[in-house]
Symmetry: C2
Subunit: 97 residues, 2 copies
């Protein structure tokens, strides 16, 4: 799955937020979301395939953490298409600050 497709699902975006906040496992996420662990697992597989997360298995648990490289690609595409990215990035900086 490509990055944009992976980010198209609201649930996946929310999960990525959690993962970015702190590395998480599938079962932990399944407690936070009103869906099955299997469904969570599928979402994580999608995020993994898109290169957005990193799998680290220790013992019987698999913990997912954020891999932000692909997010740069997204920003790059948006900036490229959006045009006038110079002012746009400045505005963004201001907004985030």
């Amino acid at each position: 799955m490509d990055v944009f497709a992976a980010l198209s699902d609201p649930t996946r975006r929310e999960m990525l937020r959690h993962i970015a906040d702190s590395p998480t496992t599938a079962t932990e996420l399944a407690r936070l979301f009103p869906i099955t662990r299997q469904a969570v697992s599928k979402h994580l597989a999608a995020l993994d395939e898109a290169g957005l997360v990193e799998r680290t298995s220790s013992g019987r648990e698999v913990r997912y953490s954020l891999r932000s490289e692909r997010l740069d690609d997204v920003m790059g595409w948006v900036a490229e298409v959006g045009g006038e990215w110079d002012q746009r990035l400045d505005r963004l900086k201001k907004r985030l600050r």
Copy 2:
């Protein structure tokens, strides 16, 4: 349709590129892509619903142009989740230059 979902389709992203380059109509795009004008029209409707394009009808033709505000939202989300957006934005600037 929300912005991320609208951008999830490769064809729509390509179309948005064209539109960003210069405002275009549905039939013109249909000549550039290997799909029907109807399919193009649906994609444009999706982009419109997401607030990514602006419709300007003159006579019998409807021309679509880019509305970049929503793209800012996308960049905002990515920067927010990605973290360390300060260095990231600097890197992006360098890459685009």
